[in-house]
């Protein structure tokens, strides 16, 4: 809708700039609604996308090489890549290094996987030592933001679990042979793990 916006498509905006009326456009990334107008909340180039049902969307694209601060924040349900640091009797302490949709995190967040969140069934019989070892790389899902220090993660899904583990005796990277075991290609030693279903 030409003439309906205060900035032309592709112009540079600063936080707080009034972009358009909120009845004509929905706020997209980098925009917010206050009163009857859509405002920018970041520095970048503004983009107005029209849609067929009449109400378009206004969004702000950041400069090259910048990321929205809020996009680096983990939410419940996010799939993350983490490294096991330490195992205890009832939980594993892990360090989140990357997340799906975000990429590598600038700084590592700490989290825990509780014993009852490791496998889908048989939560009573699960043994931490038979599921993870320090140094393993796992796919996990954020199930709670936990307390102020740690995220609470879960691997209770088929495609979640250990994806990379090193054999204790040979130092080789092991391959999964079943849902609960991994084998060293060199020595043939089998070690118990909560394996992630390999991707085809």
């Amino acid at each position: 809708m030409p003439g309906q916006t205060l900035f032309i498509d592709g112009s540079k905006v600063a936080p707080g700039d009034k972009l358009c009326a909120s009845k004509l456009y929905n706020p997209g990334k980098g925009c917010y609604v206050r009163g009857a107008s859509v405002y920018a909340c970041a520095v970048g180039t503004v983009k107005f996308t029209e849609s067929k049902d009449g109400k378009g969307e206004a969004s702000v694209t950041l400069e090259e090489g910048r990321q929205y601060a809020s996009s680096l924040v983990l939410n419940v349900g996010d799939k993350v890549l983490a490294k096991v640091n330490r195992i205890q009797v009832n939980m594993a302490n892990i360090e989140i290094v990357a997340a799906e949709g975000i990429g590598t995190l600038r700084e590592h967040h700490s989290g825990i996987i509780r014993k009852e969140d490791i496998r889908v069934a048989a939560t009573e019989e699960v043994n931490i030592y038979d599921s993870f070892r320090p140094g393993d790389i796992v796919w996990a899902k954020v199930i709670s933001l936990g307390d102020s220090r740690k995220y609470i993660l879960s691997t209770a899904e088929n495609d979640l679990g250990v994806i990379r583990a090193v054999c204790a005796s040979s130092g080789e990277i092991m391959a999964p042979i079943s849902w609960k075991e991994m084998q060293c290609p060199k020595t043939g030693v089998k070690e118990p793990r909560k394996c992630a279903k390999p991707k085809e």
């Binding site: 600063a14 909340c41 601060a69 924040v73 600038r106 933001l145």
Partner: protein, 309 residues
């Protein structure tokens, strides 16, 4: 538009060297409101004009966002880190439902303050309190400034978007020649925007000093100032963007922070005893100053190169 005759220019000018062993003058200095020093010797400014402003952003490569703000000899460097997880020291005010803004102001060691000015400001406290805290240390000023900066910046941040994360703002005062609080607020707001942190609006801030008439000397013969009318309120005159010498002679200082697009005042800090009608006039002058500062900030933020695609 305010009568500010400022241009964006780099203005690195060193202060004159201090003689060692020189006696510290406690005497209040006379101020000439129609011809004030502007940081650059040849240019003089009137009571309502700002010093030379220099604003730059993304000056530090290791921080997420950074900015450099200069008002005459006042030089502020600000860097923003984050969002990052809490460290153990910050877990006290940590919360799961919202993020945390942490502000730290530091004076550059040995360079931050003029030794003479330092002694005098310590005797009079921050921005012209005449009070009993005679020996307020540089550290206490840092704590005070950090908390003021937090108060000024916090309303512009939607912290609920940054759950379990902290955004850290570090302000380094490279040189202090008055108006460090407004300059720090401007620098912090710019650096946050530069870092890609969502902010509702830019916070611009400005200081006005209230000088007793008895300390003012007027020069009427100056041709440049022939048409200039100073704020004449009988007993007081108002000076925009005061330097530290002007703050020392001032009866009080008013600092205001504004979110200009929202037309809202987010921060008001006033020291000294000033009559109410003078305060409201100082507020008006602050508002004009904030608008001018906001224009500079916006100009600096929107002057990035075009994305090629």
């Amino acid at each position: 538009m305010p009568t500010a005759n400022t241009v964006l220019s780099n203005c690195y000018t060193p202060l004159p060297a201090q003689e060692k062993g020189k006696q510290v003058k406690e005497k209040k200095q006379y101020i000439n409101p129609t011809s004030r020093s502007s940081g650059v010797e040849k240019n003089h400014r009137n009571a309502k004009s700002i010093r030379h402003v220099c604003i730059d952003r993304h000056v530090l490569s290791n921080s997420t966002g950074s900015s450099l703000v200069e008002l005459g000899h006042t030089k502020i460097l600000c860097s923003v880190h984050g969002p990052r997880p809490f460290n153990s020291a910050q877990t006290n005010d940590a919360s799961v439902t919202s993020g945390v803004l942490s502000c730290q102001v530091r004076f550059a060691q040995k360079f931050g303050q003029h030794s003479e000015i330092e002694n005098m400001t310590h005797a009079k406290n921050l921005d012209g309190y005449s009070s009993s805290f005679s020996n307020i240390s540089s550290q206490k000023r840092e704590v005070e400034l950090s908390s003021r900066l937090h108060d000024a910046i916090a309303p512009s941040l939607p912290l609920e978007l940054l759950m379990k994360n902290v955004v850290e703002v570090f302000v380094m005062i490279l040189q202090d020649d008055g108006s460090i609080l407004p300059a720090s607020v401007v620098a912090a707001s710019l650096a946050l925007a530069d870092a890609g942190v969502e902010v509702y609006d830019l916070v611009s801030a400005f200081s006005v000093a209230v000088i007793p008439r008895s300390l003012c000397v007027e020069t009427k013969d100056d041709e440049d100032n022939a048409g200039v009318t100073t704020f004449d309120n009988g007993q007081y005159s108002l000076l925009a963007d005061p330097t530290s010498t002007e703050i020392l002679s001032a009866e009080g200082v008013v600092t205001m922070g504004m979110m200009k697009n929202w037309k809202e005042v987010v921060f008001w800090y006033q020291t000294g005893s000033i009559p109410p009608n003078i305060v409201s006039e100082a507020g008006e002058l602050c508002k004009e100053g904030c608008t001018a500062m906001h224009n500079f900030m916006r100009q600096s933020l929107t002057s990035f190169p075009d994305i090629s695609n």
